[in-house]
């Protein structure tokens, strides 16, 4: 089957996803930043005592707080600065549901939930990119990239 069919028929569970960073709502912004930095991920999912997602805290929000309250990051709990819009899908949903969120809602991160509503992973633009690239190895995987701008004698130019 082609990509368009697979987007409709394959489930989110087949998308590449990252292990989600789960943090408590009382975690300070500074602690959250330290965790995000150590895990090299731009988003942490804030969960309640039962592991159900309450929202996400992202590097984008961190930038706003650095500009507005740079000296209070130790004191501000992340629950006060969750993204106003955040997105979840069930791992049984079709991949096209994630694509819809990315294209129509500008979602960068999408939480993947199991059948009980617990967060089991994080996907989004990166996972979709990898999934699509896997369908076209000849056109994508063999590309020579990493060139520097301003090459003086580019072959064939």
């Amino acid at each position: 089957m082609g990509l368009k069919e697979n987007l409709q028929n394959e489930s989110v569970s087949t998308l590449p996803c990252r292990e989600a960073i789960l943090i408590q709502p009382e975690t300070s912004v500074r602690q959250a930043a330290q965790i995000l930095q150590s895990k090299k991920l731009g988003c942490a999912v804030v969960v309640d005592a039962e592991g159900k997602p309450m929202g996400i805290f992202t590097e984008r929000t961190l930038i706003k707080l650095l500009l507005q309250q740079p000296h209070d990051l130790d004191k501000i709990p992340v629950r006060e600065h969750l993204e106003t819009e955040w997105f979840c899908v069930r791992n049984s949903d079709s991949i096209s549901a994630v694509l819809d969120l990315v294209q129509k809602r500008d979602a960068r991160f999408v939480c993947e939930l199991d059948e009980h509503g617990k967060v089991i992973g994080l996907t989004g633009q990166k996972g979709l990119s990898e999934y699509i690239a896997d369908h076209f190895p000849e056109q994508v995987m063999v590309q020579r990239i990493g060139g520097q701008p301003g090459m003086e004698n580019r072959e064939g130019a």
Binding site: L99, Q103, R108, I132, A133, Q139, Q143
Partner: protein
């Protein structure tokens, strides 16, 4: 003259048996046959390497963008992204905020050329792992920046409805 005419009679067009590549999928064809120039790469945001890190954060937040192309006298010298803020700025903000952004940018970033096949754009994102990839022309001048969303838009992928 007689010798030249003899050679012309022997000439066999090397393209006489050429069959254009057949693609089973319109997306596959687009990735192979179209160029990066067909992918929307504007608008994009630029900053000078001498601007302060604080002003770079203001630009990211004010313009609501995830990346800034750092351009010096018309040449791309780096990229500064939300991820760079997390990794190089956030935990030592007071120490670095008045320093020039050149000190924390990603220097000599991976780029794609306008004339590269569109598949190179997806490769830079999905394989090399860069979320924002500058696009330059063959003279090295900045054209714009591509992202996963812009590539998906180019591929005209169908959504759920």
């Amino acid at each position: 003259m007689a010798k030249l005419e003899h050679h012309l009679e022997d000439f066999v067009d090397p393209l006489s048996n050429y069959e254009p590549r057949q693609y089973s999928d319109a997306i596959q064809e687009a990735l192979a046959e179209e160029t990066v120039a067909a992918i929307r790469s504007r608008p994009h945001a630029e900053i000078s390497p001498d601007n302060t890190i604080y002003s770079a954060l203001q630009a990211l937040a004010g313009l609501q963008v995830a990346s800034l192309l750092v351009v010096d006298k018309g040449r791309l010298v780096g990229v500064f992204t939300e991820r760079d803020v997390l990794e190089r700025v956030a935990l030592r903000f007071d120490e670095v905020k008045d320093r020039p952004v050149r000190e924390v940018m990603t220097s000599n970033p991976v780029v794609v050329y306008e004339s590269d096949p569109a598949g190179a754009a997806l490769s830079a994102i999905a394989v090399a792992g860069f979320r924002h990839v500058p696009v330059v022309d063959l003279n090295g001048a900045v054209v714009g920046v591509i992202s996963p969303r812009r590539v998906f838009e180019f591929l005209q992928l169908p959504g759920a409805d």
